[in-house]
Symmetry: D2
């Protein structure tokens, strides 16, 4: 019942989820199911491209998978035994339909569709060079850079062109491509963003998380390895490692917040890791209290772990309305301040006079924490102790996660005592970075080649950041503004 | 975070929620907030009528409050310091907009708007008589009967006409009426459906549940008493008891499922009563097991109560997607069976090899229970024990709750051992009727004049059921079929 | 190609068209065709009620027949062999869907649907009395008065109740009613508004104009006589004259502008009457000129008549865009003045240096005439002579035609020389009232009992105007404001 | 009032209209007006791109200009003093929004928007070559070929790149391009499609027809010459002739049907040319008859010319409904045959017993002619003589006009006596090709270098038809199918 909370304004947001299926009678219907299970990874837009052996078919829409891809006419207009799909959250406010993935191009070799989770850190530099040579971009998406690199590559075969293109990009990418010859899935050399592989009868499925396999009735086979290309042609699969093998750096925040608690990765259950984080937090930062209360819904597993470790009872102190999924925009200034209770309401009868421990997964800007502490006090809490299931978030992500600019990150501006004051809590503690690695089964964070990308906590970025060092690139594009709807 | 679950097909459904406010600058904006908090009581349609001192204004819409009543143009078109609102779930499949409440009529005394929660058990008999005398009905709603009784009453003042009308109806009603002279709230003599009163500054608010007061920032004042009429004129309120006083019979199912857990009624917290039901269930029907798992979301408070009483750990064994609020209609037969996992997915890593106790609030048709037990077994559960936080549901409700016909109620057809077999559980227990009364603070159910209406469990209906004894009445109306949209 | 012009702001407007069909397999599909042919009589809303032998079905919509009643799902939702339909233009700005006809009521005798063309001149008085006796109105339409009079009549049979109701109303009405027993068509004793009868195989059709029969492939049978009731039951028809017989007074403006030129009424072609009006105008008000130019499109037949009589060539001096049907609302103040040319553009090459005679059907406020004369001068016309195919419009209509209040009628404020100045024409003439009767085959207008209702020209109203004499009635109703959409 | 008839299924259709304005405060509002006046040249989709000095803004929509470009929010989202617009009729059934013009690309030199009227006859050959070199097309429009030729040109300045691109294409094009440096209008060397230039204060306007200038209040300056490029920068204009000068071949069908009758081209009024064609037809093919009847609305000017020349009275024998603009799709097979009368109804009272001459502009498939002759006979015509204001249409157009494949052109299959039989007329005549040239002021058609492109009548195509000779090119593209809406 407690998937990550997609409705909260004050969270980091995963930007994308991808899904691909090859060799299935109902490819696009299964893709719709899979994307629905990945909806928490991108709520703004969704798209599916199918291939029927002769033609490609596409449907893209702003909004959720449900309401767009559960219509019979839509699924019937996406025939074929192969399909690739995408859900998307946009970082830039650029919401034009032409940016909704999967992207598609007619190459000399035939049609080419691609869905991308991640972000390239040299996209603008590459785009500038391509435009100078005569390439015309139809979107502002960095994914389109990859397509143009393929189209203009001087290699002969499509596979060689594709590998040539990947060798020129830097950053994070989990890609699923569909061509008349077959499907190609691949993951960047560091494996920053996740990608798993499953099977359903004779068909092969790729997806950002294992829950997308569950919902299709498919079995989990394995993760796509960092730096691996898997080519599916008919019922055969081939694996390539064109970049050689090197230590990986998967995103640690997937464990803290992005992935669904019922997903499995790296042979671990996300739910059990989150409980373990909560238990570790109870060991590191104990407090005398009457109730452990999760900030719904993402704080629940850590709260159960904290309660079990500490022996303090787990209780529902904050009731969350089911209906906030449909955003309620209060149109009158006079009553807008009341809006917060539409979403979360304190269980006053429970809280009044009690010492409470609030468990949340992270603090980004701090705005929600401030409101929730106040809500506890208004409901009569005697003491409010906040415990956070991740270290302080101090740095922006350039690998496909929507983070506010650094100046807006509370932990980039304030130390923990200052943050405690800011949110008006009686105490505030974050799990330590080593504690987090412990919950993941490591002894501690390795100083050299740590096992995860934890740049948002540590500032230790595992790739070059070309575009960040080349600010001029940003401003050179003529920009076309298109209204949607 | 755990309001009652509005998305489940296999639940009894409250049919309505009502809200009224008098003397507030932003009456209709506050009504929209209040209705949003009552959304779980009726998801099919919503309406608000406002009165600006001269004219009445109405907006009615199919669908949710959010998306319809959070638009600035809608709220601006509902000016005035008084407003009455309604959310509705339809029993009959009759979804025409003209049935959406509040209903409105131009009487000789001026405009008259009314919102009704409940159901009259002699509506068809009364309607037949009214039509014979020349009344023309615009809806198929039983609420309109009350308006015609008022319009044709031979009494002189509107208040006398209204009391005359109420004396002729039988059944359950919580009503909020708005006229140019003021607002009238009332509750049937047995108080079957709930109605509370609050204040926000100088304004008076009536609502089905106290959460609607919370969301407006209003304070809870008291419940409207069974058989009481409260008249609000300007800042003055008057209370009448035109039916005398008699023992009340409020609906017991509000405590089991309908009301939000953060609502307060009869000086009790719904959440704490549900936890107490869970604890009582653990005393009555203990079992050796490894995990207590709630059926999300309505089973959560009882599961916490069961876990705390039994000492078995509370765990999230079923993960519920946030995105099922937007119904996903799977268009392809071939993959429709996969749909159940869109909504609920087993936390396989947790469950595998474990003995689990599942806690749900009720069993209606049994279809969901069957699927969830199977889901536990598919995820590798060693044993599956089902515990239900209400007695077996064996009888239909005629007081404003949507129940299937008796033949479809599992407990009307099968005894508990047969039900255990039917859902393939290792064991199944319901709380006893006396246990339920105990959780509500009584020693046991009184045979004579029990404190609650529990007819759905016991068949002991507290009023006449005139229309049920007069089947011919149903078929006499010419019927107008209107498509919506 | 030249139906009456529905797009012009400065015209009198017919308020309604009605259509009924009994005994046809595709009743609602034929009703949709018939209403489409009557679209010029009401562009704001349309509705059809069908009866399938057991149930009534309704679809009502704001907007045109096309786009609403040419959808397969709509027609399939209107089954049965009988249907009644209505197109409507609203006088009051009250555009709520509940006012869209046909109206429907469940009477004690069963369902009752009615479509009404015309206007009652004592509706408000009757409504006030009905409300005092307990009737509840759902619309602000005067048609609903008739239904309540039927519902509350003390007569026994539906037919007697209906005749009782008609005897209490005054004003103009052409009505088509549908009940389980059959269809009833009737026309007020003076026959102010038109109504014709046709046959298509075994089915009987009633419609406002004969073109609605043409479009269905039906044959014209006869006009419904003033004061006649025709009852259709199965294949049988019965005629009643409950009011006795008296001289009729059909609306003369139907000949001037409202009816389509291809309609036949009173054994005359509307087109040929309009040509005759033009010829008569040429005889009464000749002028030396080079070109006769119609104001499109309603002025065309009279212009042809004028040209043939005078020998001056008929030419298209004003080109009308086909695309103005879809109103183009210019959003920018700065360029709004350009809008007039979207609709009508001068044929400059033709007009430059020429003396032109402009032929229009009527002048209401004068705003269009002013613009069109100016357009001719801008295009280089040497002289502009305006000739109008009706007498000056000086009085409001209370019988179902939308007229501006008297103060806005140009001819109520100014005499002909003043109007000539106002529109900046070189000369201006109207046909005389006797000339108009001549074109219709009379020697002249009879001072006593003239053959037509010509109150808009003469102020000679053929009925009482009860509500006009009882202004207080207007303001007594509480008013419900409902937004559409 | 009689623009060309856009509603008829059996007409050749102009595919596009273009409009550009530079240096006007309300550029996009004026563009919307201009496109509305050009709506008859393309009803399927419309688009405007504006440039505000820094950014380009675009809005494209399926459907008419009215309803899309008269919304204040749309115009406000198109700021700037320069705008280019396009209306489009699609030949291929490919209706995706991405094909709606103006097209836009980010080139290395900045933004580049282009609107194109015409059709390239070597587009597929060029596209194949470009894709092989790595260009990625986003539309299936031949216009995009021009953009890629510009982007990949090895010349240095944008103007040189543009001229380089034009030298590689063959066929018909009137282009309006907008760049940060200014606006460029040009017309192919033969001037097949029209393009005119006007001024409004300091601003310069380009448009397909002069009516678009009228509606903006602009003055006509001159035609853009065949093979001419006009560059507008600020208030300065420059003219280039990069292809040298050569005899032009403008499309003769613009005079017969495409252009609005109130347009001026080549110093002639379209209306007066059409009247002259009618007069010439009366000389070539006289007949004894009682009435001259135009087929509405495009046959009207020629019918007036025929009537004036022959002395037979001009009459409205066919009445056309104004409401067919909104297509009425009859959903029931049983009544679909009635649909023709929705659009055109015979004026039976006029026609009965008379010998009629019907005047139409052209015969394409012959389906409409067949129905209209039958409609005259059903209305009682004694004789029906059809006269056509163009020669027999025997060949397809490859220059931007939608023609059926040759096998469906009636005149490609049958000679005139056979066509007379096919449409059941008493006689049928077409104007001769020399007669048509006479009406345009020539002595006759010159065998060598005739003054107009008349390939649809003669098969004499003035350019190579590369793609027609290279059928394989058509099938090589992978195709992406996208549903609209």
């Amino acid at each position: 019942m407690f998937t990550t909370n997609p409705f909260d304004d004050d969270k980091l947001r995963e930007e994308c989820g991808v899904f691909g299926i090859s060799g299935a009678t109902d490819a696009s219907a299964l893709a719709a199911l899979g994307l629905h299970a990945l909806q928490h990874r991108g709520q703004e837009a969704a798209g599916i491209v199918s291939f029927d052996g002769g033609e490609f078919h596409v449907h893209r829409a702003m909004g959720h998978v449900a309401g767009n891809f559960d219509r019979d006419d839509v699924i019937r207009a996406l025939p074929g035994e192969a399909a690739v799909g995408h859900v998307r959250y946009s970082t830039t406010g650029e919401t034009a339909l032409r940016n909704v993935q999967p992207l598609y191009a007619d190459l000399a070799s035939g049609g080419f569709a691609v869905a991308h989770n991640g972000n390239l850190s040299n996209a603008m530099r590459l785009r500038r060079d391509l435009v100078r040579q005569g390439s015309i971009f139809q979107s502002t998406s960095d994914t389109e850079v990859i397509i143009h690199l393929v189209a203009t590559s001087s290699y002969r075969t499509l596979l060689d062109k594709f590998i040539d293109a990947l060798k020129r990009v830097e950053g994070a990418y989990s890609l699923i491509c569909m061509t008349p010859e077959g499907m190609i899935a691949c993951r960047d050399p560091l494996g920053i963003r996740p990608l798993v592989m499953g099977r359903l009868g004779d068909s092969v499925i790729f997806a950002s998380e294992s829950v997308a396999l569950d919902v299709c009735g498919a079995t989990f086979e394995r993760e796509v390895e960092p730096g691996e290309l898997i080519i599916v042609q008919g019922t055969e699969t081939r694996s390539l490692h064109p970049f050689g093998k090197q230590p990986s750096r998967p995103c640690i925040f997937e464990w803290v917040y992005f992935s669904r608690p019922d997903s499995i990765a790296d042979d671990r259950s996300v739910y059990s890791v989150r409980k373990e984080i909560g238990a570790q937090l109870a060991i590191e930062s104990p407090v005398e209290a009457d109730l452990v209360i999760p900030v719904p819904d993402s704080g629940v597993p850590a709260a159960i772990g904290y309660a079990q470790q500490s022996g303090i009872p787990f209780e529902l102190g904050i009731i969350r309305s089911h209906y906030v999924g449909r955003t309620f925009i209060q149109p009158r200034d006079e009553v807008r301040h009341l809006g917060v209770k539409l979403k979360h309401n304190a269980n006053r009868a429970l809280i009044s006079g009690k010492r409470v421990v609030l468990i949340d997964d992270s603090i980004v800007r701090g705005t929600t924490s401030l409101k929730i502490v106040q809500m506890m006090r208004d409901a009569g809490a005697a003491e409010v102790h906040m415990r956070i299931a991740s270290p302080p978030t101090r740095h922006s992500c350039y690998y496909g996660v929507d983070t506010p600019e650094r100046a807006k990150l509370l932990a980039a501006r304030l130390n923990t005592p200052e943050m405690t004051d800011y949110i008006h809590a009686d105490s505030l503690s974050f799990i330590s970075i080593d504690g987090l690695y412990k919950a993941l089964g490591e002894a501690a964070r390795a100083d050299v080649r740590p096992k995860y990308c934890d740049a948002c906590f540590t500032g230790d970025y595992p790739t070059n950041l070309t575009d960040q060092d080349d600010v001029a690139a940003v401003d050179q594009f003529a920009v076309l503004k298109e209204r949607v709807g």
